[in-house]
Amino acid sequence: MSERAIEQTDFTNRPLCLSGRGVTKIFGLGDKRTVAVDHVDFDFHEGEFVSIVGESGSGKTTLSKMLLGLLNASEGEIFFQGKPRDISTGRKKKEYWKGIQAIFQDPFSSFNTFQKIDTVLLDCINMRGGKHLPKEKKIEMMTEACGFVNLKFAELTNKYPFELSGGQMQRLMIARIFLLRPRILLADEPTSMVDACSRATILDMLLNLRDEIGMTVIFITHDIGLAYYISDTVYIMEHGKFVEFGKADEVILNPQAAYTKRLISDVPKIHEEWDLSTVDLLSQK
């Protein structure tokens, strides 16, 4: 196994890319009121690889939808590049989405079934203002993007998304990001539906892409081993609150919150004994 150089960069003195103060999301009213995200504060810096880790139902996806601007926050404010985010009109929202892009969990439902792959990639070029470029230049750009994710553009032209495998689709999503060059990439469990082997490929591509275009990556996952491997900073989320955050090494190797300790002890490991006695089978979970 060869070594990967881990940069111990201090991100705290870099400019802020996305931050939030008291961000809250409440669903329902009265008795059915559910607080999905409960007054969270966060600071994501430029070029930082951030992971948000939590169990099912902890509010990770709700938070990610608010960050993307797909849901409005009930309370609190989100700041984009230091300024309060304004997505009140459709045009402003579109402008915001040039800066933030996402990869979702299910690659099969991420593409429009009726659009050919060329169209998907051409849209990205047009969105970045490359509409008037000559055709050869566009093809060159698409070939480069596909090459970056080990896909062959010549084999993909005139194909529809359903003709690809799950791993290929997920890589095509990354090729889109390569063309769009956003400031922030939000990846919501992009590897939970692929096997261990393709997972390694996708993670490596995300890390390379981060280095190539210097974007911030917000990685949402329930796999704490994965978060430890890939991220600079880790936020641990429980019942809509951040119970702990900090540098990956500090949080994972020396957890403070009880919840973090439990999450880490629940993951099967290979160098330590896996203690099965910590779970109570009679609990109604």
Binding site: A196, C197, S198, A200, L263, L281
Partner: protein, 335 residues
């Protein structure tokens, strides 16, 4: 050496596509599981893990077809039996199966107790309702599931609870072999741990005699099973004890697979994940020689000439590669 519970000899099965092409999904697989032992199967998507599970339990419904080989459960050969007969006489009592999407396996309109009745009635039509309820409650209590679950519908249960209910229902008749096909892939870590604890308890109390556990999560396999088998393109490429397979894999494919492990332990962060390039071969026309040769860093021209036989070494280990064990270990050492 314990009594052999499940023996599979040179099993070959195929899928027949709409266009009448044969896809050889399981091609010459042999293994044995002894009483009280568990065997794990690892491999990437599409390597034939789930097909092997279906084939072992005699589930030959089109498009899956049996070609040749023997499946012997506790001395009884079930190969060549009609799938309907297998379902009536073998499934549940001799061999139980937990599918990957077990959470969707429960009929939403029925209470859990009805599934218990179904399973027991299939093998013992005279059993009374009261007797079944007593048996079910006793088993649920022993496995740490609240007996109140029996009167609930599937929609009232969480994912982890559903999965554990499915396991309890499918093992009520004390099968000799349990086949678990990715039982925890869709669960979060805490529910996964509960499922594993329950499987361990079933084994410990002797309700199931042996287990075949399929997953692509290697750290999990290491913690659950005694032995691990790695499957690639329909064939077994390596077999050994869990410890040997994780810390000392021999076959280049297993070596690559073990390098994709992610665990939250000190020092693992700096390791470079080595993804295996390329894609598995098309099983409609499997290559003549080594099936992994296309993606193997150490492949030689002679690897592609003819099928590589299984070679055994050490005590009970097996691998399928042209290169010798020492040769392979030496090249890994240079990396």
């Amino acid at each position: 050496m314990g009594k052999i519970m499940l023996e599979v000899k040179n099993l070959k099965t195929k899928y027949v596509t709409r266009f009448h092409e044969d896809v050889y999904a399981v091609d010459g697989v042999s293994f044995t599981i002894e009483d009280g032992k568990s065997l794990g199967i690892a491999g990437e998507s599409g390597c034939g893990k789930s097909t092997l599970a279906l084939s072992v339990m005699g589930y030959y419904f089109s498009p899956l077809h049996y070609i040749s080989g023997d499946i012997i459960i506790d001395g009884k050969n079930i190969s060549g039996m009609k799938p309907d007969d297998v379902r009536k006489s073998i499934l549940g009592s001799e061999i139980a199966y937990i599918p990957q999407a077990a959470m969707n396996a429960l009929n939403p309109t029925q209470k859990i107790i009805r599934f218990m009745e179904d399973v027991i009635h299939a093998h013992d039509p005279k059993a009374g309702r009261k007797e079944i309820r007593e048996r079910a409650e006793a088993r649920f209590a022993e496995l740490g599931l609240p007996p109140s679950v029996l009167d609930k519908h599937a929609v009232e249960l969480s994912g982890g609870m559903k999965q554990r209910t499915v396991i309890a229902v499918s093992t009520i008749l004390n099968p000799k072999v349990l086949i678990a096909d990715e039982p925890s892939s869709a669960l979060d870590v805490t529910s996964q741990k509960m499922v594993i604890k329950m499987l361990r308890e079933l084994m410990g109390k002797g309700y199931i005699k042996s287990m075949l556990f399929i997953t692509h999560e290697l750290p999990l396999l290491y913690n659950v099973t005694d032995d691990i088998m790695v499957m690639y393109a329909g064939q077994i490429v390596e077999r050994g004890s869990a410890r040997e397979m994780v810390f000392d894999p021999v076959h280049p494919y297993s070596h690559g697979l073990m390098n994709s492990i992610l665990v939250p332990e000190e020092g693992t962060r700096g390791n470079k994940l080595t993804a295996i390039p390329g894609a598995p071969p098309n099983l409609k026309r499997p290559p003549d020689g080594c099936r992994f040769a296309e993606r193997c860093k150490y492949a030689r021209p002679e690897c592609r000439y003819s099928m590589i036989p299984e070679k055994s070494f050490d005590a009970g280990r097996m691998y399928r590669c042209l290169l010798g064990v020492d040769e392979l270990k030496e090249v890994y050492g240079h990396e």
